[in-house]
Symmetry: C2
Subunit: 349 residues, 2 copies
DNA sequence: TTTAGCACTCTGTTGGTTAGAGTGCTAAGC
DNA sequence: GCTTAGCACTCTAACCAACAGAGTGCTAAA
């Protein structure tokens, strides 16, 4: 669907204007504010043409033009160029509040708020999904009685722990030995394999180790986290300042969508396979039933591997250029922070 | 401000009716639905009297009566009795979804959602505030290189950890010795004292221990958590279903209040000194500038000590009886769960 | 192909009218 | 003196009509 260069320019002007002001764009406004060297009547004809093609629409007869989802799509695909301003943007925000400091939870929450603050929309972050069983190191600490703390250090350097209770007491020496054994095994086998082998090999007298192994296996699932806990939404209240949510019903629908973490997770993960940053305009996304909302999604990495997604949710009338830049910037920032955490202690401070 | 028994009954009827229906209560409605043996005219006189005294008010001349904050206050203080139904309530909800399972974060989030679901309002939980430096046990685990994981077991049995980097390497043996030393010292001294003493006692050759001590002291603050992270709000979207928030502005104000975790924290902690469950009606609370909202706050314990607060936020037109029951029930439930965690491993499963 | 002009349509606002709800007051009844 | 019936009064919410303004679509001319 190629438009002429002139029509393309006009489509861009209409969308730019609408995104900026939020009011339907009249031919006369276009004529005054942009220098096309055309009269409002001509612009009117062209706009009618663009409407014919499905890029624009009409709230009612005597109203100006408004972009359709298809219009936004075209706009994003061919009219928004990010690279030009990426550098400048980086400078502008390098002084932004630093993320990090606290634990992973806090980092994710900070990141979602960061996205929200920069984009003036809602920020969403999905916490790192470690490929199950990718542990670099598992440590056991005997606390008191039969209580043992299992510490998992994941492949991307994140530390998580789980407290368990054993049926029998076990001394720290034995726990250390078991930890070293596991570390060696983990290089070539999965936890589940090791567990199976151990069950066959160890006799009844070593029951406590079998239990320890079972609990470790269990715990590895637990620390992996419930899906719903891995989605962080920041700045939900400020999205509602956009006039498109002035309607109470729309407001509530959006808020409910934000609370349905599971769906959000699905939605963001959809784009994990795609290259770079992906934009879903309005009805383009299957999960997010909310009409009139767009989603800009990116990915972040740890040690070079994609470990999570993050994005911005706002009205279809969104500052896409800015949103894309913010997502891009934040994803790189977050990746850098995770990498720093990962390498800390290996290469010194 | 004592009302006669009859007037009290009528005030109660008005408030009950208003809480139930949300529409201003007319004298005729009161006459039909309640059996006072009085005509609507008499009821009208009495309601005018109650208005005179400040318990009721009038949206406009030709509307029914609506309770004032003072009215609600009287209602709660003298007309709501909880005990009668507490048992029955317990039965009704003992089959409710169990809390717990995940880590502390997850538990708090679950609890806030639990409160929200049962009360049909927003649920708020403030995570346990450990008195600073109240550690039962501190453990160090050498991970790799100069990286050390510090594990804190707090007085209420919660486990938290922090990863640090040392300037020099240190072996696990030494870490264990240091851990035992700390545990002994902690029985009679604060971390800060121990740190000071250590700095004086240890010479330059033991610099790494001084660093370890410093980092531990630092970390004890970090794991203590940033205040803002300790407030969990559940069910924010569903409060907005109440007709009093049909107005967009009110909706936004409330949502912003929910996002201002710091203020929420202050607000809930205000009631920590009070006995039992406390209700703030409308403008009674100084922090929460939101008019038209009430707050029911309770406390929960671990090992017998109050460690956190939790509550329900909704419109002043709230089912107070139910809300109080829900808060009461949840606080006991949460206390029980924390106690279970605490004692696990000491007395066996 | 572009443009000026104009009729047409739709929206949002304003003002006026009306029905209904519920009170406050007065005067009569127990 | 308390209660009640009756009625006038007030305020709201809904409906309607009128109207100004915005912006288009179309026609005809440049």
């Amino acid at each position: 669907m190629a438009l002429g260069e002139r029509n393309e320019k006009i489509l861009q002007a209409v969308i730019d204007s609408y995104i900026l002001s939020g009011i339907p764009v009249a031919s006369s406004v276009l004529c005054q504010r942009y220098d096309f060297g055309l009269s409002s009547a001509t612009l009117r004809n062209i706009m009618a043409e663009l409407e014919e093609m499905g890029f624009l629409t009409h709230p009612h007869t005597s109203a100006g033009r408004v972009p359709t989802d298809k219009g936004y799509r075209y706009y994003i695909d061919t009219l928004v160029s990010v690279e030009d301003e990426a550098e400048e943007f980086e400078d502008r925000f390098s002084a932004a509040p630093r993320l990090g400091g606290g634990d992973l939870h806090a980092l994710m929450e900070d990141a979602s708020r960061f996205l929200a603050a920069l984009s003036r929309n809602a920020g969403v972050v999905v916490a790192p999904a470690e490929p199950e069983g990718s542990y670099r190191h598992i440590e056991f600490v005997r606390l008191r009685g039969r209580q043992v703390l299992i510490i998992f250090v994941t492949a991307s350097g994140l530390v998580q722990n789980k407290l368990i209770d054993l049926d029998e007491s076990i001394d720290q020496q034995a726990l250390n030995t078991f930890s070293r054994f596991l570390d060696e095994e983990l290089e070539s086998h999965s936890l589940s394999d090791i567990r199976k082998r151990l069950q066959e090999k160890l006799g009844e007298e070593k029951r406590v180790f079998i239990q320890l192994m079972d609990e470790t296996y269990q715990a590895s699932h637990d620390v992996h986290g419930r899906d719903a806990e891995k989605v962080f939404v920041g700045g939900a209240a400020q999205v509602l300042d956009h006039p498109e949510f002035a309607n109470v019903e729309k407001m509530k629908t959006l808020l409910r969508a934000f609370e349905d973490k599971y769906k959000l997770l699905k939605l963001l993960d959809m784009s994990i396979a795609a290259e770079g940053i992906k934009v879903f305009v309005g009805s383009e996304n299957p999960y997010f039933e909310m009409q009139g909302c767009s989603l800009v999604v990116g990915k972040y990495r740890a040690a070079g591997n994609v470990v999570g997604t993050l994005g911005v949710i706002g009205p279809t009338r969104m500052q896409y250029r800015q949103a894309i830049q913010v997502v891009d910037y934040t994803s790189r920032l977050l990746s850098r922070i995770l990498d720093e955490r990962l390498h800390r202690g290996i290469e010194g401070k």
